[in-house]
Symmetry: C2
Subunit: 210 residues, 2 copies
Amino acid sequence: MIQKKISTAVIKRLPKYYRYLGDLLENDVVRISSKELSNRMGVTASQIRQDLNNFGGFGQQGYGYNVEYLYNAIGKILGLENKYNTIIVGAGNLGQALANYTNFDKRGFEVKGLFDVNPRLIGITVRGIEIKDLDEMGSFIKENSIDLAILTLPKQKAPKVANDLVSYGIKGIWNFAPIDLKLSNKNVIVENVHLLDSLMTLSYNIKERI
Amino acid sequence: MIQKKISTAVIKRLPKYYRYLGDLLENDVVRISSKELSNRMGVTASQIRQDLNNFGGFGQQGYGYNVEYLYNAIGKILGLENKYNTIIVGAGNLGQALANYTNFDKRGFEVKGLFDVNPRLIGITVRGIEIKDLDEMGSFIKENSIDLAILTLPKQKAPKVANDLVSYGIKGIWNFAPIDLKLSNKNVIVENVHLLDSLMTLSYNIKERI
DNA sequence: TAGATTGTTAATCGATTAACAATC
DNA sequence: TAGATTGTTAATCGATTAACAATC
């Protein structure tokens, strides 16, 4: 199927739609118009309709959108019906916190393994998963069909391990290291969470107010 | 001083410039042209020059930019010379992980207090800071001139606590709860880190590759 | 001075918003 | 049928890129 390229601006808004629709669903709202949704979300109704129509016509003239149907449709677009076998590489504070974060499981991201180089961490169990030595990562990925790696290593170690992950056949890296990974294989998807960048943006905006 | 409004697109790129310049500085690079920096960062040289010129002329024709000077200038634009007294509200896994994250201190974000409602957490010490009851938050903010709150509560509790924070005079909220906070005071800055949104974006992109 | 590279204006591109015919 | 609201085209707006004169 030939699909027109969807802009990243649109893609980044999909989870927000999904979130709001999930809330509506929890509150037993059955239908919603783009206008009403636009009021709640603080975006234009036009944008909502444009965004959704990149993926198909989910609404009905004169009626609006069925909340449950649209919620499920967006979930499917986002690939949330898939299950992703996940490992966390870097079992420090952040890695362990993410391992304990149950919301990820709910969306199909299941943590199967935890890895670190620190001998003081290896052997410790977090949420029923034993932290393993980084040396074992390659075989673990293959044996357990790991799709996704969460990278919570310091920036010095991140690039090498990232390329190892690529060579072991991983499909995506959720990167928390404060560095832009340059991977050898362009088919591996990297999504960055640069926490410090976000914090600096906050700092900028606070400063502007003073 | 009347300053023209800087677009958020530009502001969000500043931390990335700051990061690359920091790396260059670590590697004792003295000067860099917009062209060379554009190669490294994977953006256009034109964009770099445009972005920087929103804040002033930092370069020199025929020479380029002095790395250290530009690094410090951007740091100042981002407000990193300021010190921010910070509290973390929600001392679960994520809250504790962030409390332990030393990179924030380096940028002037100093964690002064940790708060939670869970009696099993109250009294525990994380990185030398005792977790306090949420009831004590208001007086603590005033007594310790807290500027910033990191919100790592579940989404049910986040809106109320956020508005409490506003009423106690906080300047900014770094929000990790999966909800868009609607605050009573528009002068309080909110910066969202929606981890699940980021993960869903990754999921979408992986799915598109398959 | 000649070469390099900025700062800045102008051109292009893409994303957002407005408008409205189609239709439930 | 009349009213509401979508899907979609057209208009607008803003952001990015290209070009080049200014100048170190």
